[in-house]
Symmetry: D3
Subunit: 255 residues, 6 copies
């Protein structure tokens, strides 16, 4: 019996929130997001008005979170059927889930779940050593500590990443190979959304080395899963993330 | 910035293996699978030549598994980009992954990962008490024991399920409500793929009761995730599931 | 051999950040904080300029966090030797740890560690059902899921708590007794810092019932531990919480 | 007070199922099984009619499992008091437990439990890298991930193992020493039942190196424990492994 | 191929240490131990010179432990091939393992491992509520917390247990049935070695109720496993339990 | 609002039990304990009449425990408000908790909880390899296995430690650096109470190496926490550690 997808749940619209304030044109990772959208799925990328220029610390995550929530609420108001917050620290995701009914996904949670599905242990290769402790926190929070092989870093600041993509890919592949050989990883998560789009190239280097393992590009993967959930009519539990009470708030002119 | 999905990775073809031998016409859950396919995704449902009429035990899972693997290999040979094995015990999934390079997903693993993403604790509501121990085994195997609120059963044999759908839905909703109120679940997995398509109705009963929680329909959800992974070029780790060696096999005429 | 404490590490000064904006006079829990300070320890309580009037959701936690970090930095600049963030969701604690070298403690983390030290399993009795999922998140994050007996709620909004203290104490004791008898708890954490000071009264009701169990008052306990750590010269690992990089931040006039 | 065992529960008969089809004479590991039987215990070794020539993959495990169940049922019918399935992947064990009331033991589960009893952390030294992921799966399934130091492989195909026993023993000892020194193992499980009988030799090499650690020979150990359980009147829970329902099965002429 | 056990490793001698001081004749549980010995296995039961009359607290465990170690050393000196310490709190077991090379087993550790082998979750039914916290400690220490369904107590002091065996059996069965029905246990451990010999009777009551589950009698099971390990030449890891250094000890005239 | 600590709960008196018998003058670590006492806190250090000269094994722990309990009971009788048992194996702590109502703390449990509070993963650096397995047992018992980076040893006998403090500090720092760089620890626990007072020096060496991490001195930290808990009116749960029953005890003249 053969069926062609009738597209139940489609067309649909997904907002990707880049949880940073832009200083110039948007980063070219944005092109990657477009390519991640399935047919019948429109992707709109928006950025913050209040927040940091990039997120490389828990401090910057905290600065980004309030406007992430506001932008998620806006997105739902403008007809979005799902929201993806494009930063590997998943900033503001639980809070945004409280404010809306549509699914809000963070790339860290999605990537770890997908990695856990594709092999018994995975490693995360991120940009900076300093991101390792907060990523450890997320691994614990999301319940994957038994499946984590290691977290490794290539030590390149986020804003320098895309200036020299070939070298970054080489460094990512090199750490991934060590993760496979020394830490016994069977899959790799790219541990920064600014690496979006590099997954396939890293995967190709590993394949040439003889390692056929999944390399997960966090934001594109989160976009695809957001589309899948939204089309299925699935969202986070509002019992777990209820709407917040109305209340006086000071110091946020737009709240 | 707005983008419309270019459908990179689409069109694609997914095979759903019903891991049972048919005695008559296929069950009407098959219609449900069609509706789960995203645009540009063709779904073909196939059944076994060797195996049991339904799976309600680990014994029947074992009888089904060899032909599941053979059918997965056939599916890849015929151009499938992904395979879903439609039974909540995920029969033969690791073995099938060894034989092919395309992603092979089991609805139990997918549903638990999605449930874990949408709330802090979930319950599984299955058909028979006797499925609870093997489902406990899968919960441990997939690493979700800390997130499991409970596994409950409505005690209806698989082959009787669709004769009286309204009563089954009522029973599922009743156990789900107890899972929420007594076991502190924040989301529900329907614990049998023969319940496919009943998720929305159960979710609606819960909503009327005031509980806005995800109710996960295992096979449709697995189909949507399989499409998402296949389109992203992600599959299971061949380092974790390498091709088996060539070897003499007795008693399986078609192997 | 007998020794009298020479007070090495004393006198010292602790700042308690009430992570809310005040609408009128400070809540009378503030008196409780004073009583928690050991001899030679000065406690200063400060509130936010930017944030919500109370914290009953992850959303409000997100609104509070940026100014919590700013106030922690101020506290260190003004000579504080330790900081306690007085809210059971520990808002902004990891981010604040990045910005300073002095210990920053959250009452949830401290209370769970103390409860784990005093008996094999504990329950949390909080104010609202809606706080249960984020508290579950913290239990997982801090690694206590095997020791958690239950999280229960008395269902009274934070701002109403102190209007009728005797009834609140009665409700807390009643849920604690159920936690002991039904959920097999051996200790109780009061799951909201607005309950500060009620611990002794609840403990007394339990004692009359025949249950000699610790009832942990989160903020006073955190103050005492903060003093102990600061005097010992112990703080959080700066390897785990390094200073954030300098970077452009928009929308926070004072950052 | 001194007592001599009256042999309550003895004599008894154990069937060892070699879950492979033989091509010639049985492997000499069979002699080892004999030596493992306690006084008053008869051991009968049987092989499969349907299945692979050896098991080095999850695929081959799946091919073996249906006939393992049939042979376990036969064994009980012929008066066996316990069954051991002699393969480190424990193929078909849960399914066989459903079909019979006598204890059915797999050497992986038994070995891990014995290893956990004799020291705080253990390593598994197996034959092929490709067995490491399924062994990781069993470690998780049986709940030993916190006690696992490592899984290592000597990289020799199963059917070549016994051609050069001295070299295999040397390789096993070498990996065991690395497991002790680098991975902090306190005991070793031989991770393939085709290594049966080599335990003592490996243990001797380790002893000469100064390491007095248990080296567990999986099938002999499982035989001894099967005898102990059967004599004690203990078997698996039929509540957890109930008899399967009667049902049409296709493609298995003898089922 | 059939083999009759040649009894390799037999005959052997096991010492059971009753970790209490006797006030009169030994308890009749001693008869039970005899019946647990396999053919060719001699069992000698010895009691303490220094210690409490029974063990119902961690305090009494501490009083018993020093002489348990001394008696284990004596047992090895007198030719024992294994030692079982007959108390569900496993008093002095790790310390005794340091002093000897022969296996020293505690019934709690053995029973939990056997229960874990026979079903996915088990309950312990003990004599007194006050034993529940130390048993929780052992469950954590031995790594079974995910498999524990519950610990229940019948509330009868140890020294009264055998005066009214039928009532005790009835109470044990009643708590076991609740463990099965309410706590979802699939097997039962009798949580006090003074209940030795009652396992079969409890199992029979459960069977009549329709529950075919293992009921584990701790000391007899430990004796059978001790015989199995000793005959196999397996003991605890001396790397994990090395001999203690020679050193001055005060206050123990016989040390 | 500023407050100066009124010293509620102060003055108070803490007994430190050195769980060894002295052969000559007390070790100079005793001076360290004095410095750890906060203002208004008197510390009295007492030693055992029955027990070993030092504790380097589980055997010696067992020899120490009975008199630890007796001394804790004496301490309470003499007006102590808290007790610290100064040995990293926490000998007799649960038993002592049964005998008294005042808090009894062990430095291992306290140190692990403090380390868990200050960073995501910690290592323990102890004196002898042979202490690693019992420390692993405590890590499991106290529930920190997910947070443990490693346990390392400098291989110096306890009684030699203080003869050459500079070399010991150098060795501790060297292992700590390896724990940080190779095992990914973010904090260090000194794994022997005879190292008391060396924490600051080790921390200084690490700081010069660029690692700003907490180095926890177990007994001083336990003294500070004991004072904090006692002043707060918090003690262990008597529901978890009830008073033992009255009972005949043989061989302990003073019990």
């Amino acid at each position: 019996m053969k069926y062609v997808g009738q597209g139940r749940g489609f067309p649909l619209k997904i907002y990707v929130i880049g949880p940073i304030v832009l200083d110039g044109p948007p980063p070219d990772t944005v092109d990657v997001y477009e390519r991640a959208a399935p047919p019948g799925c429109e992707v709109e990328v928006i950025f913050l008005d209040r927040g940091p220029a990039s997120i490389e610390s828990e401090y910057e995550e905290v600065l980004a979170a309030p406007d992430v929530v506001a932008k998620a609420r806006d997105a739902e108001a403008r007809g979005a059927e799902a929201v993806v917050v494009s930063c590997i620290l998943d900033p503001g995701v639980p809070a945004a889930r409280e404010q809306v009914s549509i699914p809000v996904l963070g790339p860290a949670q999605v990537s770890m779940l997908v990695a856990a599905m594709l092999g018994p242990r995975f490693s995360i290769v991120t940009v900076l050593e300093r991101l390792i402790p907060p990523l450890h926190g997320l691994v614990n929070l999301y319940g994957h500590s038994e499946r984590l092989a290691s977290i490794r870093a290539i030590e390149v600041p986020v804003l320098d990443l895309r200036r020299n993509a070939p070298q970054v890919i080489k460094a990512l592949a090199s750490e991934s190979i060590q993760a496979i050989e020394e830490d016994k990883a069977y899959g790799i998560i790219l541990g920064c959304t600014a690496l979006s789009g590099m997954g396939k190239s890293v995967q190709e280097v590993l394949r040439q080395r003889g390692y056929e393992v999944p390399v997960i590009d966090p934001t594109p993967t989160a976009i695809r899963l957001a589309a899948a959930l939204a089309a299925a009519g699935l969202s986070h539990s509002k019992l777990a993330y209820p709407f917040p009470p109305e209340k006086r708030v000071a110091g946020y002119p737009d709240v």
